[in-house]
Amino acid sequence: MTQALVFIDNPGPALKKSSLELLTIARSLGDTAVAFNGELHDDVAAALGAYGATTVYRPSAADLDDYLVAPKAAYLAAAVAASGAGTVLLENSADGKEIAARLGIKLNAGVITDVVGVDADGTAHKSVLAGSYNTTAKATSAVAVLSVKPNSVDPEAAPAPVTPETVTVEVPADAAANAARITARSAKPASGRPDLGEARVVVSGGRGVDGNFGPIEELADALGGAVGASRAATDAGWISHDYQVGQTGKTVSPQLYVSVGISGAIQQKAGMQTSKVIVAINKDAESPIFEIADFGIIGDLFKVVPQATEEIKKRKG
C-alpha cells in the first residue's frame, strides 16, 4: 500500500531538484506514489521511476491549469483516496501551500507548511518566528499534509528503478464550480542564474547600491550564485520584486549569503538569517546586519565588491 503521495504540478521537460527531494523524503516513509498534473514527458516519467514512484496518478481533466488552486486540491484529494496514502508531500510554493490548505479541509487532515525535515514517524521539522525557533510538529489526523522547503534533503535515486503504473483519477465534476479562473498568464523572463530559493550562494543588494545592481550581479556570477534584493531596492524599481528576500519575498537558506548595502531590518532578516554563513558589506558600522554577520566589512560597496570579484576571478584563473 502507498504510504506517501507526492504532488508534482507541471514540471515541464525535467523534474526540479525540489521535486526530487520530495520523492526522496517520500521513499523514506515507505511505498511512494506521485499525483501528477500537466504534460508527462518521457524523461520525467523515467525520473519518477528512478526515484521509486510505483504509481503515477493522472487527472481525468485537462483544464486544471485554467483555475487557481481549487480544482487541483479536488484532484489531489481524489488521488489521496485512490492511493490510500497517509502522508502527502507538496512543494512549499504559494500554490503548493494553498493546495495543501484546501486538501486539509477536504480530508480533515492536518497541514504543516515550511517543513525542512520529516522523520520516519511523520514528525515534521520547521523553523518559526523568522527563524528564531526550531520546532517539531505532527499531524494528529489519519492523513498528514506537508509542504516542504527546497534544499531540505539531498536527492537520492532509489536503489533500483521501477516502472510506475499509470492510473487515471476521476476529477470531481464540481471541482471548478467555485474556482477563480485564470484569464491571462505571462511568463517571466528567466535570469540564467541559479534559482534564488534553491541557490547555494546568494548575493543581495539593498538601497545602498543606489540603482546599480552591476557589482552585485558580477559578484554573484563569480560565486556562481543567485541575485537577491531588499524591499527598498525592489520598491525603488531597480530590480524586480521576484528577487526580494524577506518576510514578503523569498526565504533563503544558502551556504553563503552576501548582504550588500542592506541595513538588516527585521523583515529582511526574516528571509535570510538561517543562512549558513552571512557576509555583510555596509558603510554604516551601526547597521543591525552586523549583529548577525559572520564576516562584516565596514566600507563602500562600490570599492569592496568589485575588488572581491576581481580577486575571485584571479584565483579561479
Binding site: 510538529a137 467555485n178 498568464r185 514578503t248 557576509v279
Partner: protein
C-alpha cells in the same frame, strides 16, 4: 455608481516582530505581550477602504467589517482598524479557541463570516497574505474552501466592477490574471497599495464605532471543534535557535575585498 459592498477584513493581533518573540505559552504557543495589528493585514484593510471610497463610502451603505479572532487583547487590532477607517468591528473571543491551528481558526472564522452574512450577504472577504507570526498562508485558502468562495489569493492588484473581481497574482515563473464573480475571498500582498495611518479624526471617530464581541455559542460552534481539541496538528517541541552572534568585523583599508575572498576560501565557499 458601482454596487455597494459589504466587506469583511480579517485582522490578526500578532506579537510585534520588532521585539524578541518567544514560544512560552501552553502547547508551544507564542507569547502575546507586545502585540499589534499584523502589518500585512493593513494592506487588506487599505484595499477594502479604497473599494468602498470609490463607491461613496459608508454613507452610501458600504461596510468594512474588521474581524479578529483571539484573546482579550485582540480587540486592539479591531480598534486600530476602526481608527484607520473600518466601519465596524467584530471580535471573536472564547477561551476554547486557545491553541487553534489553521484548520480550527478557519472553521471558527468561517462560522463568523456566515453569521455576519445572515442579514445581508457578505460580498468580499479580504485577508493579508500571511500572518506575521504563523506565516502559513493557510487560513485564506481554507476559508475559501469552507465557505465555497472563489479564492483570489496573493493579489498584487485588485479590481471589483459589475459584480466581478479581477486580481493579479505574481508567481515565481509567471504572472496570472485571475477572475471570479462576487462573493469571493481575496488575500493581498504588500505590493498592492500603501496603507494609510490613522489620523486624528479617525482616532476620535473610532470611539463611536460599533464593536461586537462574539463567543463560540453566538456562532454555533462547539468548544471541541476548535482550540487544541479541534486542531489537526500539534507542536511537539520548540527550541530557541541560539541567537546568531557577530563574527569578525573589519573596516575597509583598501584591501577588504581581498580579505573577504580569503575568508571565503578559508570557509571553503569559493
Amino acid at each position: 455608481m458601482e454596487e455597494t459592498l459589504k466587506i469583511v477584513v480579517l485582522v490578526k493581533h500578532v506579537p510585534d516582530a520588532q521585539f524578541d518573540r518567544h514560544i512560552t505559552g501552553a502547547n508551544n504557543t507564542t507569547d502575546r505581550d507586545e502585540s499589534i495589528l499584523s502589518e500585512l493585514d493593513e494592506y487588506a484593510l487599505e484595499a477594502a477602504l479604497q473599494l468602498i471610497e470609490a463607491r461613496g463610502g459608508s454613507k452610501a451603505g458600504n461596510q468594512v467589517i474588521a474581524l479578529s479572532m483571539g484573546p482579550a487583547g485582540a480587540v486592539n487590532a479591531v480598534k486600530k482598524s476602526l481608527q484607520i477607517g473600518a466601519t465596524e468591528g467584530v471580535h471573536l473571543s472564547d477561551d476554547a479557541l486557545a491553541g487553534s491551528d489553521a484548520a480550527a481558526t478557519s472553521l471558527a472564522l468561517a462560522a463568523v463570516i456566515r453569521h455576519l452574512g445572515a442579514d445581508a450577504p457578505v460580498d468580499l472577504v479580504l485577508t493579508g497574505m500571511a500572518s506575521t507570526d504563523g506565516e502559513t498562508s493557510l487560513v485564506p485558502a481554507q476559508l475559501a474552501e469552507r465557505l465555497s468562495l472563489p479564492q483570489l489569493t496573493f493579489a498584487s492588484s485588485l479590481d471589483v466592477t459589475g459584480g466581478k473581481v479581477v486580481a493579479r497574482r505574481d508567481g515565481d515563473t509567471h504572472s496570472d490574471t485571475v477572475e471570479a464573480s462576487l462573493p469571493a475571498l481575496v488575500s493581498v500582498t504588500d505590493q498592492i497599495n500603501e496603507p494609510r495611518y490613522p489620523n486624528f479624526k479617525g482616532i476620535l471617530g473610532a470611539k463611536k464605532k460599533k464593536i461586537t464581541t462574539l463567543s463560540l455559542a453566538d456562532i454555533g460552534v462547539g468548544a471541541s471543534e476548535v482550540g487544541t481539541a479541534g486542531s489537526l496538528t500539534v507542536v511537539e517541541s520548540a527550541q530557541a535557535r541560539p541567537p546568531r552572534t557577530a563574527g569578525t568585523i573589519i573596516t575597509d583599508e583598501g584591501d577588504a575585498g581581498i580579505k573577504l575572498v580569503e575568508f571565503l576560501a578559508a570557509q571553503k565557499l569559493l
